[in-house]
């Protein structure tokens, strides 16, 4: 077996931090257009936000509870935490260095300028003051903490500015300010008497103002043509802060932000009104334990005071780098003009398998063949259109689907409402536990219910992550079920940004089993035994293990076998062990893992036949596909599930076989191109580091996402019917 010292698994969370490092690499890459680099910086920031709220918070909870024991990689929670913090700080430092030393100067050369407080020109200062008075001041609510050591309770991840104030005894303004505040009774500080007399100098007052979330972070300052000057909301406030505290002198000011534990579960026992319970969780999340304090100031007087008030360790303070909350700054990447600073536009193409013959309906095409949608190279629009068509189609009896992180103004939600109003039975499983989108979900859940949709608020203890849609249509030859099974959410916006797979089919056995799945998640039926589909948490993992093991058993020196898999994350020890065993039997295992990978590849005696590559490019790699050579009788599966304990053991997920030979060939090609990528692929090393795939000359460059797009485009152009004689008019059937 392997070297006794080498770990059998990588640490899950450290592996995640390395993923975020790969995202940062994209921001550092000079071949990437400038505004795209900006975008990657923002993504690194928002990725960390979620990571701290969930994973770091969880480690801290373990440490607090005194949980002993180690994770699969052999590290204690304390060791994991300290390594995570150290590595994260490195990455965050590199991020700000990149921003200040590289991106901002280059942006300035291109005519995109960040005007900062203290560095405004005269006209800029006037504009900002007017803007402040008109737009910002009326919605600010400064809160002053008179008691020394008083605890400010800043909400989770909300950007704040803190001030250390000192009464300005000579100021007339102070008394005037008092009157003004008393009369208005609203905005402005509420200084009654200052601090106890005689303690004046040492006892600075802490005042905190939250940046109104309703206002845009980026404020565009009028400029001459072809140039963009922007300033940030906090710049405008800092610049005019004195107006907030008449009668006080501001000794110190700085931005800060507190990240809190977001992993509070809903009380699952409270089934009777799950929505209400959910709302309470959202509220309490705002004020749960703090896990990180990010500060921008000169020196550390503010941060020390805040840190102590929040009960954080020194290592929990992130004080190097401005601006904070860069995740909010993404919109700058979309400013109009400046297309030369962005990736070339890649509008999704009409799907290859749907290039339909003139005059045939969508329904007919689907009855004839299975369709693969490879988003975002191919358009997700057909799925939306399918639901829209179904909504008005008199032959449609019912529509069932899962909705998880769907956008609020989604055309899908609109179509479902229309369908319900047209008397179709519409059943929607709305997953309220999609971690950061609950608030939005609750709103349409209630709306959907009002129009007669049967809304299921998830399943107790299990998050429903499967992506499935079924439309039941009564046709003259009998009932036909149109099914869409996918790896991505039913979200028309992310469908343009995430790379995902979806299959449309009318296959009887698949549709029948999917119907049983819906019966189970609708509470009509106990969990059914399934043959074609595999369902987590009941049979999916077992099926996967069987498939991996079958490959192992079939392996021989002449035909060693091949497993290819594409997942976002690989962290399930049982799956990893099965892959190790397959490797040891000689099976070639090729993995495309975008994020966390706990499997250690390339270790002689353990995993020498396993390679792992990660692709981080403009589209977020999100599809899950599994290929087994199976002695020549190849099998291909798609799934909503990653190979993680949470997906396989604690979520409702689906895996389904791709049965059409043509679709299998297409997916196999996707794997081939992915593993040939030598531009955006990084290869995982036995020591846990990632290295770029060896690049040849320019001609031999393979950038998989680009290849997929070019292919989609050439098929779409070839498939365009020439010389139309007639329009194929789409009308509602009478």
């Amino acid at each position: 077996m392997s070297d006794a010292d080498a770990p059998r698994y990588f640490s899950r969370d450290l592996s995640w931090v390395e993923f975020n490092a790969r995202v940062l690499e994209e921001a550092l890459d000079e071949d990437v257009p400038l505004l795209e680099r900006w975008k990657f910086l923002c993504i690194v920031a928002s990725n960390f936000d979620e990571f701290f709220m969930v994973r770091v918070a969880s480690l801290k909870r373990q440490i607090k509870k005194g949980t002993s024991g180690v994770d699969p990689s052999g590290l204690s929670p304390e060791t994991q935490l300290s390594r995570i913090i150290a590595r994260s700080k490195e990455i965050i430092t590199a991020k700000y260095e990149c921003l200040w030393n590289d991106i901002l100067p280059r942006l300035e050369q291109e005519g995109i300028v960040w005007a900062r407080t203290g560095a405004y020109s005269g006209s800029q200062r006037t504009f900002v003051r007017d803007f402040f008075n008109r737009e910002i001041f009326p919605v600010l609510t400064p809160v002053r903490h008179e008691e020394p050591g008083a605890l400010p309770v800043p909400g989770n991840n909300r950007l704040h500015i803190a001030f250390l104030l000192e009464p300005d005894e000579d100021s007339e303004m102070r008394r005037l300010g008092d009157y003004a505040a008393a009369e208005e009774g609203a905005a402005g500080p509420t200084p009654r008497q200052g601090p106890r007399t005689g303690q004046g100098e040492q006892e600075e007052l802490l005042a905190v103002v939250q940046l109104p979330p309703a206002l845009e972070r980026i404020i565009y300052v009028p400029e001459q043509e072809n140039r963009i000057t922007f300033t940030l909301l906090e710049d405008a406030i800092l610049e005019n802060a004195q107006q907030l505290f008449p009668g006080y002198r501001i000794n110190r000011q700085g931005c800060f932000r507190v990240t809190r534990d977001a992993d509070l579960g809903v009380d699952e026992e409270r089934d009777e009104d799950f929505v209400e319970a959910m709302e309470q969780v959202l509220e309490s999340r705002e004020y749960s334990d703090a896990v990180r304090l990010s500060v921008v100031e000169d020196g550390d007087r503010l941060s020390e005071r805040l840190r102590r008030a929040l009960g954080l360790d020194e290592r929990d303070v992130y004080a190097k780098g401005s601006p904070l909350a860069m995740g909010d700054l993404m919109p700058l990447a979309h400013i109009s003009g400046f297309d030369h600073l962005r990736d070339e536009h890649m509008p999704p193409m009409p799907p290859r398998d749907l290039s339909q013959e003139e005059g045939t309906s969508f329904w007919d095409t689907l009855k004839r063949r299975d369709v693969l949608l490879h988003q975002p190279y191919e358009s997700f629009e057909p799925v939306v259109r399918l639901i829209q068509d179904a909504a008005g189609d008199p032959e449609v009896l019912s529509i069932k689907m899962t909705l998880y992180r769907t956008s609020g103004d989604s055309p899908i939600v609109g179509a479902l409402e229309e369908a319900a109003e047209n008397g179709k039975q519409v059943t929607v499983l709305l997953e309220l536990k999609a971690r950061f989108d609950e608030q939005r979900n609750i709103r349409w859940a209630e709306h959907l219910e009002r129009v007669g949709v049967i809304v299921i608020y998830g399943i107790a203890q299990l998050k429903v992550h499967a992506k499935a849609l079924m439309i039941v249509r009564r046709e003259s030859e009998g009932v036909v079920r149109y099914v869409h099974l996918g790896t991505g959410n039913y979200n028309d916006k992310t469908a343009k940004l995430y790379s995902d797979f979806g299959v449309l089919t009318t296959r009887e056995e698949t549709a029948y089993e999917l119907n049983l799945f819906f019966n189970a998640i609708s509470g009509y039926s106990a969990i059914p035994a399934l043959n074609r589909l595999a369902l987590a948490p009941v049979g999916l993992k077992t099926r996967l293990l069987q498939l991996i093991d079958r490959e192992r058993r079939r392996a021989s020196p002449e035909a060693p076998g091949l497993i290819m898999a594409k997942v976002n994350s690989l962290s399930h020890p049982e799956i990893i062990d099965a892959l190790y065993r397959a490797s040891q039997a000689g099976v070639k295992v090729m993995l495309n893992v975008r994020g966390i990978c706990m499997l250690v590849p390339g270790v002689p005696g353990l995993s020498e036949n396993i390679t792992v590559v990660s692709i981080v490019d403009r589209f977020l790699e999100h599809g899950r596909a599994f290929y087994f050579e199976n002695g020549g009788a190849e099998e291909m599966y798609l799934s909503s599930a990653d190979w993680m304990p949470r997906n396989l053991d604690r979520r409702v997920e689906l895996m389904f076989p791709v049965e059409s030979a043509a679709l299998k060939r297409r997916l196999k090609h996707v794997f081939e191109v992915t593993f040939a990528d030598n531009v955006k692929a990084r290869v995982l090393q036995p020591d846990g580091s990632w290295e770029r795939a060896a690049k040849g000359g320019r001609e031999s460059e393979v950038r998989s996402q680009k290849v997929f797009y070019e292919e989609a485009k050439s098929y779409a152009q070839a498939g365009e019917p020439a010389n139309r004689k007639e329009f194929s008019v789409r009308r509602k059937p009478l």
């Binding site: 009998g478 009932v479 119907n515 019966n519 009509y524 039926s525 035994a529």
Partner: protein, 519 residues
Amino acid sequence: MSTTDQVSPPKTKTVAVIDMGSSAIRMVIAEIDDAGHWRRLDRAGKPVSLGRDVFVKGYLSGDAMRQAVKILTGFREMLEGWQIAEEDVRVIATSAIREAKNRDTFLDRVYLRTGFRIDVVEGVEENHLTYLAVQYAVDQMRAQFSRANSLIIEVGGGTTEVMMLRRGKMVAAHSLRLGTIRIEQQVKRSWESATDLETFLRENIRVTQEILNAEMKMESIRFFVAVGGDARLAAARVGRKEHSGFSVVDRKDFNELVARIQGYTLEEIVSELDVTYNEAEGLVPALLILKMFLDSTQATQLIVPDVSIREGVLLSFALGTSKEVEHEFYTQVVASAVNLGKKYRFDQQHAMQVRKLALSLFDQMQDDHGMDQHARMLLEVAAILHDIGNYIRASGHHKHSQYIIANSEIFGLSRSDISVVSHIARYHRKAQPNSSHTSFISLRREQRIRIMKLAAILRVADALDRGHHHRIKGFRLEKGEDVITLYCDYVGDISVEKHGLELKQEMFEETFGYQVVAM
């Protein structure tokens, strides 16, 4: 308009069957066409222990009733999604609800809360439905079945249904009060361990098998058909799916499986066999019962169809009017009746002669009696069995016939059918019904009228073979003003029969208003 040679697709409709069993409520939704083909579209099922309380205390518990209503409410929503018309839904309930003392309360509550009207089927009817489903599933083996003896068995929570077929013909159908839930309760009270369970079952089944042996030797059975969830579970583990409608399990593999799981705890069954708790419960007793029946046959394998009573109901929906199945069913009912007759050593030739004459009279008098094919079948069975009371004693044998029939099971006949048949046999001679005959008086009016008419016909037919010489081959009926004349085709002397007719025609005359004369 031009003529088209377009073949219109068969007309389909979507139907649903809900089955309220002793441990679960299940639904199947299927599309059937007028040619009798069906396609399963959807199914659902949830566990609820309706049987547990009934088999112990005799009552459905409030909790079980609430759960049942909740499950049915969900099914109602599913039916709305499929837009299935009310007349295309059939809800059946078997032993648990059948035996519940508070069943009427339950049926009423279900109707008020969910709109479902539950049809409580009887054991023998269950047999019929299961038989339909099995026949459909093992259709490919029909030829083999017709050449050898077979047994169809389904172990349920409350009852075990057994059917025996000799060369494809039904010889016996029984609904035994032996079910997994019932056993569990009985064993819990008196025994402790797994071996005790086996002893208990062996004793129980030995007695049963003696009865079955009298009808057909168990060791002559070649095909062993096991229906039900427990059998399917075994088939999924150790069987082979070689055919579209059923699986096959080798006897050796089956016995090994039973031996293996016999000592398991419930938890071990769940984890070792990868089944739910609900499926695991009752698995051991069910498989043990199957094994004990299997042991006394010469079958080398179990045939496990992919169907249940629900598919039987679907088929009765689909094929309700199909001539082929009706005929098949009819044949099996008659075969079952003949076998019962043999068991009681009846005079088969006389029975067949009376049957033929009675049916001929029934058919030729269609306009006068206005009864349906079902009544004709009851007459046929009564004609076959009218004399079996002779087995006990010739004197008053009509009463003995009534007693034997009333306490027998005949494939395809419900309890109420059996009751009608037993009364027809009772009134084939001697006293006509009168107000002192309490069992007759307690029947519903339509039943009483039906019995009167059919018994009157049977008396005439019996008289026409009074000498047991089978001399009358047939007759042509001619109706006069108030006389019916039967022009007989006969050999030899039929004066005995003519005389008999004079003696036995009183009831006929009173019932139909005609005198009967044979020529």
